[in-house]
């Protein structure tokens, strides 16, 4: 009865194909960039190898020369970890930005990474973890995810009461400080030999990844990413706010919990292994939105993954090579990218009123 009249003229949508073309080009460009950066990360290092030698080592993983060892045990895991970590953090940030309808949020700035850090510090600095396996990537991961959930749901509960976006930001920062304080106290109380590893981890770095950790990242993270991509449609409805999303048929209660769980799982997963990495989750979704020219999450989720992989790989390369042989903390490099983005966004928002 309410079916609309369909005129043939209404079917023509030439502008869409133009946008699709642009998105395709940006995808290709980003994929090429990620591949190039991975290659650079594998090739460039304190010992430089010609590409041919690395290629040789890549094809013969068992060979017992130093190039093979460095490639397989140091550079390749690190390059892959940077790509995956960047993709996960960016996706986590994208989800949080959609959820809070606030462009200035990300897993780091909302204190989610700090929440994960507290729980990891409990495992790494105290003897709580000893009851379980002595070292397991799963233990850290589970602890980090639990910490991330805790902070995420706390911040989300507070956000339900305060509608102001900047207030939300401050709540996140304060939660981060609180978690930081707990971590600092735990560090002060910890035995000396435990502290070194923890401090290194806390600086944020993709170095020292083991293959078993990469496996966890790929399997768990891949499953999470797949799930998130399947949620693009309700995520798009969420762009209009919860009330509209509900009126269009989204089961809001279930979906809210799901977004938060997925976003904090991804952030927790990366934090567990690489330590807290700042600003990637906040800045990358914006870079993706601007370069793809859309808010459509069906494009943005894969787009932010590629963009996050590229940015994080680049930052890791800079962290390793800028003042080589000294390696800089990864978060300090990502902050150079991210902090100006936050300031620019705040200023834009302030001007709009």
């Amino acid at each position: 009865m309410t079916s609309l009249v369909r005129s043939p003229a209404a079917l023509a949508r030439p502008a869409l194909s133009q946008a699709a073309q642009r998105r395709f080009l940006v995808f290709c460009g980003l994929a090429a960039l990620v591949a190039a950066l991975m290659l650079a990360n594998v090739r460039i290092g304190s010992v430089a190898y010609p590409v041919a030698r690395l290629w040789e080592a890549l094809l013969h993983p068992g060979a017992a020369d130093d190039a093979g060892f460095i490639l397989w045990n140091i550079r390749l895991p690190r390059a892959i970890a940077a790509v995956l970590g960047g993709a996960f953090l960016a996706t986590s940030g994208l989800l949080l930005q959609v959820y809070f309808r606030n462009p200035i949020v990300g897993p780091f700035i909302l204190g989610i990474s700090s929440g994960a850090t507290v729980m990891v510090s409990l495992v790494m600095l105290t003897t709580l973890g000893l009851g379980f396996a002595v070292f397991s990537p799963y233990l850290n991961t589970i602890a980090a995810c639990l910490g991330a959930y805790g902070v995420t749901f706390l911040v989300a509960a507070i956000a339900g009461r305060v509608k102001n976006g900047v207030t939300l930001l401050i709540v996140g920062l304060m939660t981060g400080y609180l978690c930081g304080a707990v971590t600092a106290i735990l560090t002060a109380l910890a035995e000396k030999e435990r502290i070194k590893g923890f401090v290194l981890w806390q600086l944020g770095s993709f170095s020292g990844f083991k293959w078993v950790e990469i496996e966890v990242l790929v399997l768990l993270g891949g499953a999470l990413l797949g799930g998130i991509y399947l949620m693009s449609k309700p995520l798009n409805a969420f762009l209009l706010g919860e009330d509209y999303a509900a009126s269009m048929g989204v089961n809001i209660r279930r979906f809210r919990v799901l977004i938060l769980l997925l976003a904090s799982s991804l952030a927790g997963l990366v934090t567990a292994m690489a330590g807290p990495v700042a600003f990637v989750g906040l800045a990358v979704p914006h870079m993706a939105r601007l370069s793809f020219g859309t808010s459509d999450n069906r494009v943005l989720i894969p787009g932010a993954c590629l963009m996050g992989a590229a940015v994080t790989s680049l930052c890791d390369l800079i962290a390793r090579m800028w003042l080589s042989p000294v390696e800089l903390p990864l978060s300090s490099i990502t902050a150079f990218f991210g902090a100006p983005v936050v300031i620019a966004l705040l200023m834009k928002r302030g001007m709009k009123g």
Binding site: A10, S232, S247
Partner: protein, 387 residues
């Protein structure tokens, strides 16, 4: 269009913790435009949010297309009901087309891919609200009026049977206000869409609605045909008017003069006085006028403005002329609207001239008084008269 009831509730009680509005009974038929009127805070939005299931009813049940609202699946509800909220949703980097296409949500598959038929529905929804030319514009760069059209287009793309709107004309200028209401009116007629809208403009509501529901002080005050329900007294009571009147016959609000600036007598008729009455009322003058024929537009305007109007009944009889002449005694000056036909008007004019009252006349003043070529001249003359 069948006139089946698509949205109904009985003895519904809505609110957040306690009841804001109780005892609401409603039955909206397909193709009907129903307006909710009432002062701010009367619970119009709360009622709409309950009917759209954003809020649980405090008590009572809502039936949507014959089914219990609370028991419906979200997706089934979305296929029959769409909403337009006051919340200005305007995500960045989203074109109007993409914005409206989100309304296809309950009709598309897992990834929300638009089939050609979906694209056609979206384009036709945009065309229905005269927004097809906006399709490629970013939604966060629209004017208020354009955005309201986008909001309506998104709701229509959902292909609902019921449309719930919270102040669809808020922030709109007159042109867009009229346009949007005209579009909604047309959709009810052409597609059998049922619209329930919370409105602020009584005069627009009176003109587009099939039914109006007045809510105030936590209950339904009245409900029915706007022509019947929206009496001057009902509207004044609803909004607590003091110095204004809603005229059912004229379909608008008139602002009364408080009489602090004196009292004028106007001889008018056949519509010649309406503009002059308003002009005098605005300047704070009390008005007496006569003798008007029954049914004359001037009589309606004068009454809406709270003027003392002397009306000669169509059947003849009565002595409105004597009464008018008596009223003339209390007036400071006379305005002749230039309607020269009536014998009674001529008698009043002569009486005023004889008493030496100042007389301002639209048009020529060959037989006494001061002529005014235009309403502007009249205003100037009145201002001079009152120093």
């Amino acid at each position: 269009m069948s006139g089946g009831i698509v949205l109904a509730c009985e003895d519904l009680c809505v609110g957040y913790r306690g009841a804001v509005l109780s005892g609401v009974g409603l039955a909206v038929e397909a193709g009907q435009f129903v307006s909710l009127l009432g002062p701010n805070g009367a619970g119009k939005t709360t009622l709409l949010r309950t009917l759209s299931r954003h809020l649980k009813p405090v008590s009572g049940r809502v039936r949507v297309c014959g089914r219990d609202l609370q028991a419906m699946r979200a997706i089934d509800l979305a296929r029959v009901m769409a909403v337009g909220l006051t919340d200005p949703a305007r995500p960045p980097l989203l074109s109007v087309f993409e914005f409206a296409a989100l309304g296809r949500y309950p009709h598309t598959g897992l990834m929300g891919r638009l089939a050609p038929a979906d694209v056609a529905v979206v384009m036709s929804a945009l065309a229905a609200v005269a927004a097809d030319h906006l399709a490629d514009r970013p939604v966060d760069q629209l004017s208020d009026g354009e955005r309201q059209k986008a909001v309506l287009a998104r709701a229509l793309a959902q292909e609902p049977k019921i449309l719930l709107l919270d102040e669809p004309t808020a922030h709109l200028d007159l042109k867009h206000r009229v346009e949007v209401m005209g579009i909604l009116r047309g959709l009810c007629r052409s597609r059998g869409l049922a619209v329930l809208a919370a409105l602020h403009d009584v005069d627009i509501a009176a003109k587009v609605s099939d039914r109006v529901m007045l809510v105030k002080d936590g209950r339904t005050v009245d409900d029915g045909l706007p022509e019947k329900v929206l009496t001057s007294a009902a509207v004044a009571a609803l909004y607590g008017f003091d110095a204004a009147d809603f005229s059912r016959d004229l379909g608008g609000i008139e602002l009364r003069g408080d009489g602090s600036a004196g009292r004028a007598f106007v001889t008018a008729g056949f519509g010649s006085g309406a503009a002059i009455f308003r002009l005098l009322a605005k300047r704070g003058l009390a008005i007496a006028t006569g003798v008007l024929s029954e049914g004359d537009l001037d009589a309606y305007v004068a009454q809406a403005l709270g003027a003392q109007a002397f009306v000669a009944p169509r059947t003849g009889g009565g002595d409105s002329l004597s009464a008018a002449l008596a009223a003339l005694e209390t007036c400071d000056f006379l305005v002749d609207a230039g309607e020269n036909g009536g014998e009674a008007n001529r008698r009043i004019l002569e009486a005023a001239l004889a008493r030496g009252l100042p007389v301002l006349r639209m048009g020529r003043a060959d037989d006494g008084g001061q002529g005014c070529a235009s309403l502007g001249d009249l205003v100037a003359a009145i201002d001079r008269l009152r120093g």
